[in-house]
Each structure stands twice: as C-alpha cells, then as structure tokens.
Amino acid sequence: MAVNAIDTQTQGHRATPTRISREELGSLTDSQVVQCFLDGQERAFGELVDRYDNRLLNFVYRTVGDRERAQDLVQETFVRVYRHLHRFDQSKKFSTWIYTIASNLAKNELRNRSRNPLVLFQTIKKNWDADHRPLEWEDEKLKPDDLFRKRHVKDVVEKAVKELPEHHRLVFVLRELEGKTYEEIAEITDTNLGTVKSRLNRARNNFARIVAPMVD
C-alpha cells in the first residue's frame, strides 16, 4: 500500500518522514491522507483541500444560498480542520467530520444572518443580479422557448430547496445531493436517526409541493 511507503528516516534522535508525491497522495484513502498529515506531511493537507473544496462549496452554498459567503465558510472549514485534525477520531469517517464542521459554520451563518438585516439586503441584491444576468444558451439544438423553460424549471427547483426550513434543507441536501446515509446525516446534524428520517420525509413532501406545478 502506498501509505507504507512513508517510511521514516532516522537522523540522530529525530525521525523525519520521507516526502510523498502528490500522485501517491492522490491514490490514498481519506484516512491514509489524514495519517500522512499527522505524520508531518504538510502536503497531505493540500490533498484534503483538493478533495473537498468543491464538494463543501456546493453543500454550503445550498445551505446558505450565497456563493461568496459559502466560499469564505469553506475556507474557514479547512482552517479549522488544520487546527484540530490531531483531535479527529480516526475510527470515524473523515468526510463526516469535515461535513459536520462545515454544517456547523453554515448554521451559525444562518443564525447570524437572521440577526443582521444587512446580510439579507446583500442576498436580495445578489438575487437581483442573478435575475438580470443574460440568458445563457446551454444547448444550441434546443429552441429558445425550451431553453428558457429548462432554465426556469431549474431556477424553480433550486428555489424550492432554498425555501425549505433550515433543518429540513440541511438533511435534504445531505441526502439527495451529497448522498449521505441516515447515520452520517445524524452525526453531521447531531440528531438521532428518527429525527433525520422525519425531517427528510417532511423535506421531500415540501419539496414536492413546491416543484409540482413545474415538473408535473
């Protein structure tokens, strides 16, 4: 296994790990990359960033609905990972742990936003910008009407997710878009399985109610 290649060379009383290449890091599992980092391979942290940056960005964006803020929160997530990785229980999944951190930051953001009207204004402004952006033609074969409809349906579906209550939205995104299991969702959201199931069911019901007029 590649992780076994990380031998340590004894120099006097200190043991320094052999540098491992990016290609080798790419072939390791999350747990192995984490172990590499804990063994002193600074490069392993970059590998974790590469693996999770876009996934976390989409997850946080779906939760907070603001791209720039989502990016900041993902950055903060990685800083926290770096600081506390030595405390990570390696018997558990790294992805669950990092999603838990990102989820907590997203929840804090939503809580702060509800207290700060300025952020709400920024969100409104962003939505206004989105509404007024030029139409992008994704597929030249389709007629403009079809393209417009397709785009509109996508907007409605995205909006439906945003309209879900916060705790429903979180489990819905984790299940439907991130493909997490009930157990993982329970751990990430710090709730029990029953709560996850009921929230997910309600979230799906709400989602169906909102999007039904468009996709039916």
Binding site: V49, N58, L200, F207
Partner: protein
Amino acid sequence: MGVFRLVGGSGARVGSAPGDSGGQEPAAAITSMTVGTGVVPGRVGALIRTSPIVRFPTEVCRSMTCDDFLTRYSDLQDDAVPDRDRERLRAHLHGCESCRKYDAVVRRGVDILHDVPELRVRQDFRERVLHSVYTMEERERIRRFRPQAASGGGTMALVAAAVLVVVAVWTPNLWQQTPSVELPVLVVNGPGAAAEDLPYVLGSDPLATPMGRGGAAVPSLMVDADLWSGSNVLLYEHSPLYHRYRNPALVRAGLH
C-alpha cells in the same frame, strides 16, 4: 410507453391528492394487480422507475393508505424498509396514481437539481486556505514565544508584581516619621551685594517712583511714568497684578 396494467377490475380511483385515503381504494372486483417496468413521461420528461413485473395481492394493495405511504416514502426511496414493507409500499405506489405522481415529482425534482451545474471554488482558493493556515500558525508561534504577554494571566501577574514593588518601596515610610533636618542659623546683616543695585517700590501705589538702594530715584527710562496714568489706572485696578500687590509689599520693578 407506460405498461401499467390492471387485472380483473376497473382499477383504482384516480385523481385524488396524496394523503386522501379514498383515492387509492381499489374497486371490489379487483383480485390482483399487475404492474410492469416502464416509464411514464411527464410534461418535462419525468421518469417513474418501476419494479419488474410483479403480481400484488389485492389485500396488499388495500392494506395501506396514502398517509401511510407518504410517511414511509423516504424509507422506500432510501431503501431502508424491510422486504415485506417494501412490497406493500410498492404495491400501493403502483396502485395509487396520486402517490405515483408524487413519487415522479420528487424524483424529477431531484434529477433537475442534479443537473444544475456545480459551483467551483475560485482559482486561488487553495492559496487562500494555505495563507490563512500560515497566518494562524504565525499567530500561534508568537503566542508561544510570549506566553505571559499574550495571556490574561500574564498581564495580571505583571500588574501584581508592580503593586508589590510599590508597596515594598513605600511601606517603610508609612511607619517612619519624616526625618527633620536642622539647618545652621544664618545671620544676615544687610542685603547682598547683588541685590543692592536693584530698584524697588514701597507700598502698592503703581505711580510710586521706583527707588534705588540708598533712596536714590531710578532714572525714568526704567519705569514708564505714563504706564498707569489715565485710563490705564482703571485697567490696572482690575488686573490680577493689582490684587496681588494690594497689600503693602515690596515690589521690585525694572527687573528687565
């Protein structure tokens, strides 16, 4: 394309909303229901995934209401139900058009959601993260080098040390009286040589002529005679200088 086929009866009543338990009551004549694999195109091409052809007993179809189905819908979707329950749920799904519609809407909605292009982080995201980490580490390092200054406890210790020093310095004075110093008596017979030539004025009269040592008048160039005459006198009486020299005293003039 749809190959849903009802056997032996007129089929379930359709057109009711999910949750309306009356909507899925099959006719009494139905003895079994056969459903097949296929797709039911929605308005935007929704696909309803169905199981392979299977024959459900009528009792199975009838033993579940739409409310029950909706309650357990998530479990079915996520394949988290026991086999027997799964059969019942599927049977209900195939027998109830409103629940089938509901299922199609959810699946189609999620499919569309998956089609939405994913966001990608900024190009310099990795550098930003590493920079944040570097900054954080630097801060930590500085804190480690200056543990007392950085922590509140260190500041308190400094303040306490300062207080102790002050107390140690001043404590002996609290118990000891101020030492008295006796200076030798100085006997003076007359003005010093340096003061002899200085002019002086007796009393508080500003118009008085300055006198030199030995009673001689000082030349007028030293004191302007018109300085306190006329309206200037009034000005003088309201000046701090007047009040200061109101009582008879020896006022030296012309010191310039």
